[in-house]
Symmetry: C2
Subunit: 490 residues, 2 copies
């Protein structure tokens, strides 16, 4: 249909409002018509089984809807009440629950050595060399494939790790306590950027740094924390959000605030002056030093939300580089997974998309708690990674209010007139709207042994959420159907 | 004129566009009419002598207009090229040029003891007690009034001081070097908030703190800077603008960045561990610690712009609590003054506007260099002082682009898509538009000996700029008339 014909048809200039497939509107626009494209998608992608599940969960006359609302209030309430503090630093094998010396913990949902991506294999090779269980990469690979090492998710041991997320028994870990609920979460100390274990590098310098962190960095900081007392991470995170951080890809302010808070106690710590200076130099040299604390704080805040019957709140998201997985509060420990997506981002000089591993790491726990991409409006510098503007940063955060249960009164965003960050991702809202959580992240090289190649934005596969919705409907609508049958049988 | 009559008059609903006095439009609005108020003011307040001066300076056929443009390009170019670094710390009497032991330096343009405001008198009393020249407030007041003490502006000695801005010979001062031009600027070390000398307090705790700063704080930091080498303030200021500071009333990020930068060298400094811990605690306990560095950096950046013939750029603004004064590049060392205005702000508990001293301090040097109120968009937390929103913070900065010569490519504002801060206030633009520079500031108690009572926003009296314009016209149009006469006589 040409615009000439449409003019003849309607007798005057046509303004077309197009919904759904944008290509219909594009064709008319090329012909010179004025086309307004509606930002509309059919609910739940128009999939009948999901629409049916949504109908069952949202039925206005059902008890289920009320039970879900009540459970979600409880779940997001626990998230907002969290009070994470640094309780200390310990040896992973000593302080991480149920961690054995043959355990290697990794990021994301469970995955076997055979199915692991390059950077995770690289980090495991490095971890086994660091532990003295192998003397080179070939030995380490053979050992990893032998079945003698037990690979388990950090998430199954009250821990989180960025990127590959490898934790071995000798590594020092932060011990974060959520004092509102008494639970703990652990994470390694951040190594810095470039050739580092978490991005899959395992050369001599990587192992040497890990040993220095174990023998020098960790004991000195542990001593300072003992002198200082628990460090309130909620206060640091709240301030950092006023200072351009979103606490995932940007941690410069939080790192600065941590250093100034600990520096007096570091000065009083037992080590000699030169050692203390080296510790302060290491912290000052790494703007991501706070990242692992942000992650463990979020993990400690979210763990009390897992396992609340009827809650549709997302209690965990994580990627192992092969799969992206989510856990839903009301569905307990089950993971709902789909293949890890690729990251849309900027690459370091000499690297391109062809070098990139798929999305990897437990760091998406920050978004799950309402930070990271959800707090992008606080950190417009981040959207520069993908050529975005300050207004795009605001738009990312604003969209996340549509799929979350609450606004966090402790974590406020200046550019949104101090509105609280969107917190508590709600499963039915994600599936119904098709709006996926927005995630800021780093990009690892796809091969083991290389390291970081870029950073950018990624959206989790929506099918994780669709599977979870189906499972939720099966578990809870089934219960209700049974309840109702029982009621009728009486 | 009622709306009924106007309906009869024009036969249909009236939409009124009102210019000038808003009350005309308000009357109609009360009658139910739709009124659009134009944001328009007559140029230069409609004052004939100022309009004539503007006409002479802006005449499109005159050489003068071109000479002014060229001179302003040079002036703002020097401001943008500035590279302020911390060169060290010294004793005021040793390192401030032409400072004698009977000198007391103060904020703002020249002022006599008799005309000084309460907080400045209070700070001078404290300074004389601190120097051991008086043992109590009465003795100090007598000495100050005796004529034996020479009061001179900090600005006349390549120095700046916040609030009362008192510098006596024994005080330690930062030495800032503008490495692009080789000039230096000095400022005291910031004492913290509450009962402090710069707000006019002079009790025992104030003097004790000043002595500790002289004997402990300054030597330890001086040692750390010697180990570190020059500290690049341009880099810290640029980063702090990305982290919610505007470098006048908010210096939390810059203070944090300075601490993390110096901490390793503080660990290596000669003092014992407990002393170093106390120094780090003092810095960590005062989010305004960086303010005096921001001020001296701006002073060092602006001094090379003073005295460029034909330039209409403002090279200094300063207040002594009695008068607000400005200096114009092309008019050299002359001050153009008017009574200090009151600050619109929020008060600490127990205080009100009735307690406030007029606007005081050299800290407005930050606005003169394009920071402070000019960078308000970077620090939306600041407008909360006056009940403003994030959008009001953006509006403040946007308006300042109308009266400035350039955008500083080194100092960028995230929320304005990384646009450079408005830099280099231009005299004719201020007078023609009636737009006064916007200034963030603290508020001192009007009586000596009390201290800080609040913080807020203030606008310099426009008459300083009007006087300067008249003087500029007299100096330069006179020259040109003479030149032209000479030309004609040949």
């Amino acid at each position: 249909m040409s615009t000439t014909k449409s003019h003849r048809l309607f007798g005057e200039e046509l303004i077309v409002v197009n919904m759904g497939l944008a290509s219909f509107g594009e064709n008319l626009r090329r012909e010179g018509a004025t086309v307004v494209q509606m930002d509309w998608r059919p609910e739940a992608g128009g999939k009948p089984e999901l629409l049916a599940a949504l109908d069952r969960l949202r039925a206005s006359d059902g008890e289920l809807r009320q039970e879900i609302a009540k459970a979600n209030e409880e779940a997001v309430g626990r998230l907002l009440q969290a009070r994470p503090v640094i309780a200390g630093i310990g040896r992973a094998g000593d302080v991480i629950p149920d961690m054995r010396s043959d355990h290697v913990l990794h990021a994301g949902p469970p995955v076997t050595w055979e199915r692991m991506c390059g950077p995770m294999r690289g980090a495991i090779i490095g971890g086994l060399i660091y532990e003295g269980l192998a003397s080179n990469a070939d030995e380490a690979s053979l050992l990893a494939a032998s079945g003698e090492i037990a690979f388990e998710p950090c998430h199954h041991h009250q821990a989180v790790g960025p990127m590959a997320g490898i934790i071995t028994a000798s590594m020092p870990v932060w011990i974060i306590e959520n004092t509102a609920f008494g639970n703990r979460a652990c994470s390694t100390l951040n190594e810095g950027l470039g050739k580092v274990l978490r991005y899959g590098a395992y050369s001599g310098e990587v192992i040497k740094r890990l040993r220095w962190m174990e023998r020098t960095l960790a004991p000195v900081i542990a001593d300072a924390i003992a002198l200082h007392g628990p460090v309130d991470l909620r206060v640091i995170i709240a301030q950092a959000l006023q200072m351009g951080d979103e606490l995932h890809n940007r941690n410069r302010a939080a790192t600065s605030l941590l250093i100034r808070e600990l520096a007096p106690c570091l000065a009083r710590a037992k080590a000699d002056s030169e050692t203390k200076a080296e510790v302060l130099e290491f912290m000052n040299g790494n703007d991501h030093f706070f990242l692992n604390l942000s992650m463990a704080a979020c993990k400690s805040a979210l763990d009390p939300t897992l396992g609340i019957a009827h809650s549709t709140m997302i209690s965990a998201m994580a990627r192992n580089g092969t799969e992206f997985g989510i856990r839903v509060s009301g569905l307990g420990n089950r993971w709902f997974t789909a293949p890890s997506p690729m990251v849309e981002g900027l690459y370091l000089p000499g690297f391109s998309e062809a070098d990139a591993a798929p999305d990897i790491g437990d760091s998406v726990i920050t978004e799950t708690a309402g930070l990271g991409g959800f707090a992008m409006a606080a950190a417009p510098a981040i959207v520069q990674f993908v050529g975005g503007s300050a207004s795009r940063a605001l738009a990312f955060t604003r969209e996340m209010y549509e799929i979350t249960l609450a606004e966090n009164p402790a974590y406020r965003i200046p550019s949104l007139d101090f509105r609280g960050t969107p917190a508590g991702i709600e499963l039915t809202a994600v599936v119904a709207s098709g709006i996926a959580p927005v995630v800021n992240t780093g990009i690892a090289h796809r091969e083991p042994g290389i390291g970081m190649v870029g950073a950018g934005l990624v959206k989790p596969p929506i099918s994780c959420f669709e599977q979870a919705l189906t499972a939720f409907s099966e578990q809870y609508c089934h219960d209700h159907t049974n309840d109702m049958k029982e009621d009728n049988a009486r």
